[in-house]
């Protein structure tokens, strides 16, 4: 591959990184704290491409004869560029939840749980809710209405779950958390992967080893929401 072409590819690649950093879609792939590194990487890639182009232009027409030993591998850089600019893959969803046998094995915190926020129905992160349902002996979620945000996952035997993915670095290490939904008719007709805010109450003692620590939520109210800016929990 010619130097010029490599430089154009670098501009495209740096541009792609800057684009997802700018419009916020990087949150589909990595966690928020990666942003400064992502911007820096995009800027460095752009700069390397621009410097090289500038140098070749200044050097006149001698540049086209220069070839690198890089072989054909640089062509593959087209793939992430095309994937980001043309396809922009969505955040992981129900497919990952049903594919993974791993579920977040909630760890017993060393200290007890703080009380739930006051108010009629506090909003909880899904992972926090599940951890409390499994481990909190004081039953801080029992008898309380809570609000959870997640997407619909249809499991086997007509069971409907609300799912969410927890990532620690990037989407490749996503771990699902899920809550079984009950108490309303028509839950099984909600479209897979659609995002909802569920209001409801945990069924005490439902997160047991035989349910694979998946608590059940008795839904009292639900309404569809747009996909959140941060689709994962961290």
């Amino acid at each position: 591959m010619k130097r010029e072409t490599q430089n154009v590819l670098l501009l495209l690649l740096g541009g792609a990184l800057c684009k997802i950093a700018w419009n916020g879609s990087y949150l589909r792939y990595v966690k928020p704290s990666v942003l400064p590194f992502l911007v820096a990487a995009g800027a460095v890639i752009l700069a390397l491409g621009l410097i090289s182009i500038g140098r070749d232009v200044l050097a006149g027409r001698s540049a086209p004869d220069q070839h690198d030993h890089a072989g054909r591998s640089p062509w593959l850089l087209v793939l992430p560029v095309l994937a980001i600019f043309l396809v922009a893959p969505p955040a992981l969803g129900a497919d990952t939840v049903s594919r993974s046998a791993r579920t977040l094995a909630p760890r017993q915190p060393a200290i007890g749980f703080p009380a739930l926020p006051a108010g009629p129905a506090p909003a909880l992160p899904m992972s926090d809710f599940v951890t409390r349902a499994v481990w909190d002996d004081a039953g801080s979620v029992n008898g309380r209405q809570v609000r959870l945000i997640g997407f619909i996952v249809h499991g086997s035997q007509d069971i409907t779950y609300l799912g969410r993915l927890v990532i620690s670095c990037c989407a490749a290490d996503a771990t699902p958390v899920k809550v079984r939904l009950e108490g309303r008719r028509g839950l099984e007709y909600l479209p897979q992967d659609s995002w909802y805010e569920m209001r409801g109450q945990v069924v005490p003692g439902s997160a047991r080893p035989d349910t694979r620590f998946t608590p059940t939520l008795t839904v009292s109210d639900l309404h569809p929401i747009p996909i959140p800016r941060e689709p994962y929990e961290y």
Binding site: M1, K2, T5, Q6, N7, V8, L9, L10, L17, R28, Y29, V30, V34, F37, L38, A41, V44, I45, L48, G49, I51, S52, R55, Q66, H67, D68, H69, A70, S73, P74, L76, L77, V78, L79, P80, L82, A83, I84, L86, V87, P89, P90, A91, L92, A94, D95, T96, R99, S100, A101, R102, L104, A105, R107, S168, C169, C170, A171, A172, D173
Partner: protein
């Protein structure tokens, strides 16, 4: 590598056309136009859930690794431009056997994941560092740097000894591989292009060498990173989930499966501790094996190594590293964690 060369074009398609060469720039334009035209079809393919998941994982691996790769190529460029082979030789002990541990512990200073260490260690080789020492650095850097160790401590709050076990297992892997290479390795297994000294062309300033080296390393390793990302995405979708469920209480089978998983999942070494921690059904030693094998040998790394050092190198180095890493991890687990548990 940074030097402009006048060799015949290696990879440009249709370079033999007698009338007029189709340049790679034109090919690139054609590819982009075709992709734009086919955009609707591409998006339709994403309707298949497994493809969609794979595409997201692919982009995620690339996006996550790119900052580390950029860090790696910048360090590589700095070494090429400002660190003379002579200075490196003065820092390292004269005998290779003694240089290996020095290089291994020097790995603690590069806070990146495995993508950063490949270009740096290749540059070290080109600057005259013995390959054995550069390889020890390659294996140690992604596994024992402070960021990874802190991440491990955070992921295993109930098992503080996991950090020590991981450090011991990974460092042992790096040193054993370094010494093995010093004893049995042959220079001809490493592709010539990887060892060729970067000669600074007359009249080129250090700045030109720095930017040109970094640019070249970025372009060549970036392609191989993409290979790794593609493979990791495919396996992420294809590896059956039931593998995990069957491992509860099985130490020996667990070691085997977790070692393989570390290779195929190709997680960033700063994230793998959290994944290992979430597999709470699996015994501790297999999870330690996962943490030691992952940064030393995985699909993404094999692709990067094949690109940097040649296929002949990767096909010998990766399997031996795998065996050594599993052995060192089990040993470290028995010593530090107190038995096979």
């Amino acid at each position: 590598m940074a030097a402009p060369t006048t060799e015949p074009p290696a990879g440009s398609p249709a370079s033999s056309a007698p009338w007029r060469r189709i340049t790679s720039l034109e090919v690139l334009c054609a590819v982009l136009v075709l992709a734009l035209l086919a955009q609707a079809a591409l998006i339709q393919v994403l309707d298949i859930p497994a493809v969609r998941t794979g595409a997201t994982v692919f982009v995620a691996v690339c996006v996550q690794a790119m900052p580390f790769l950029v860090l790696g190529v910048l360090v590589s460029g700095l070494i090429a431009a400002f660190v003379s082979p002579l200075a490196l030789r003065r820092v390292l002990p004269a005998t290779t056997a003694a240089a290996v541990p020095v290089a291994g512990f020097a790995g603690m200073a590069l806070p990146g994941c495995e993508c950063a260490s490949v270009p740096v260690s290749r540059r070290l080789m080109q600057q005259g560092v013995p390959p054995a020492a550069a390889l020890a650095f390659l294996l140690a850097a992604p596994a024992v740097n402070p960021v990874v160790l802190v991440a491990t401590a955070v992921a295993f709050p109930d098992e503080p000894r996991m950090v020590a076990a991981r450090f011991l297992g990974s460092m042992a892997t790096a040193l054993v591989m370094g010494w093995l290479w010093a004893r049995f390795g042959r220079p001809e297994w490493i592709a010539q292009r990887a060892l060729r000294q970067a000669e600074r062309p007359p009249g080129h300033s250090a700045w030109v060498v720095f930017t040109d080296t970094a640019r070249h390393d970025l372009v060549s390793s970036g392609g191989f990173l993409v290979v790794g990302g593609l493979t990791a995405a495919a396996l992420n979708v294809l590896v059956p989930a039931s593998w995990m469920a069957s491992l509860a209480g099985q130490v020996l089978l667990g070691i085997f499966v977790m070692a393989l998983l570390a290779v195929v999942l190709a997680l960033c070494s700063e994230a793998d501790a959290f994944v290992a921690a979430s597999l709470s059904a699996v015994p501790l030693v297999p999870r330690l094996v996962f943490l030691v094998v992952g940064p030393a040998v995985d699909i993404k790394l094999i692709a990067l190594q094949a690109g940097a050092f040649g296929r002949g190198f990767a096909s010998r180095f990766a399997p031996v590293t795998f065996v050594v890493a599993v052995g060192c991890a089990v040993l470290a687990g028995v010593l530090v964690l107190g038995g096979l548990r």
